[in-house]
Amino acid sequence: MADKLHFDLVSPERLLLSENVDMVTVPGKEGDFGVLAGHSPMMTTLRPGVINVDEAGKPQRRIFVRGGFAEVTPSGLTVLAEYTIPVEELDQARLDLEIGYAEEDVADAKSDDARLMAQEKLDHLKQMRHAL
């Protein structure tokens, strides 16, 4: 492996992670995408999902994030997430809570657009629970 990717994970309360890694997979709004060093600049919003941090060819860390966005610049990848929790600490109860939120969102949605988005989120979460 040539270069390392500088990866920052920031929550509103503090800087959670700032390290050099090989690859990070981010759950973007329009699909998961992997970021390696030298990725072209881009910006996307996040959907609830899991960030995978790979180092030395192996997945090192898995972190569940909800709400926020990711920014790739030549200096590295920055993920701003409103809520983060390591996957190891994520259990059935926690996921159920998240699904509960998502269901509320679907019920509260005012427009069809918003409902569609909330529904997508909900489906994704249900998939994750299934996978767990």
Binding site: S11, R14, L15, P41, M42, M43, G67, F69, T73, E82
Partner: protein, 294 residues
């Protein structure tokens, strides 16, 4: 003149008060350090958010389809005033200076014929504004039971404000809080939240080395997603500054109180010693003159 016993009681009571103010000062100092750390830890997120927003907003400026949160509703009739203060008193002029600034702002808006709605955060602000503008307060938040303010609280407020905005209940939102400069200085500040005041682009921007950002989904979509988040971040920042300011103000207020109590004890002690001496002298004179009379 107060009797010796009265003076003794008085000294004891002032000493007890001094112990309390001293303890409060030390508690405030410890909490201040924590609050400052929290404020500092929250900075990276806010800074990056600002950068991204600045980049995006520059592209959207002047476009007709710019989101309302950025461009405003086009009206300037109903103003929402968010007043963020502390829940507790005993911190000098901290709460009253925030409410004073808010009060003046509200009076000015009313003179200009605007409608004012008020949201208070923190018990002291509500108490201060209830008497004058009781009918205008639409919502009040208190965080007395919460150990330290987190992003969840800021988000709660932001959601409520957004809901009101989407329902067309106001045009402009301003938040009043105290900016933490240092331990002894807190500056009451007004900051406009809606329409969002966005820092000028190009400041602190990232050098892309000639490359162009790929947006996914497109810029407008991201902006629509980002602006509500930014509102929560701004409120969160204001709340954190407030917490730090509150403890800073409390620390210096309690420091003053402790010093004043010390001076008072000194004065009372002198009065006590003098009157005790006077009493002894008087008794001696009585004995001597009694003995001479025999």
């Amino acid at each position: 003149m107060a009797s010796l016993k009265d003076l003794r009681n008085r000294i004891a009571s002032v000493k007890a008060t001094q112990k309390i103010t001293k303890a409060m000062q030390m508690v405030a100092a410890a909490k201040l350090r924590r609050a400052q750390e929290a404020a500092e830890a929250a900075r990276p997120y806010a800074t990056r958010m600002d950068n991204v927003l600045a980049n995006l907003a520059a592209g959207m400026a002047g476009r007709d389809d710019a989101p309302k949160l950025l461009a405003g509703t086009g009206n300037d009739l109903v103003h929402l005033v968010i007043v963020a203060t502390a829940d507790r008193g005993l911190c000098g002029g901290f709460n009253s200076s925030i409410s004073r600034l808010a009060r003046e702002h509200i009076y000015k808006l009313q003179r200009d014929g605007k409608t004012v709605k008020i949201v208070t955060v923190g018990r002291k602000g509500r108490d201060a504004l209830k008497r004058l503008f009781g009918d205008k307060i639409v919502k009040s938040y208190e965080f007395t039971g919460i150990r330290s303010i987190g992003f969840a609280q800021a988000e709660e407020i932001a959601q409520a404000v957004l809901g009101m905005f989407e329902a067309g209940e106001f045009d402009v939102a301003t938040i009043f809080f105290s900016k933490f400069v240092n331990v002894v200085t807190q500056v009451p500040t007004a900051q406009q939240l809606i329409p969002a005041s966005v820092p000028a682009a190009g400041q602190g921007g990232v050098d892309l080395g000639g490359a162009v950002y790929d947006y996914e989904p497109d810029e407008a979509e991201i902006l629509k997603d980002l602006l509500p988040r930014n509102l929560a971040v701004q409120i969160f920042k204001a709340l954190l500054e407030n917490v730090a300011g509150e403890f800073g103000a409390k620390m210096s207020a309690m420091d003053n109180a402790t010093r004043n109590a010390g001076e008072m004890i000194k004065k009372l002690q002198i009065t006590y010693n003098r009157s005790r001496q006077a009493m002894i002298t008087k008794e001696l004179i009585e004995i001597i003159s009694g003995a001479e009379a025999l």
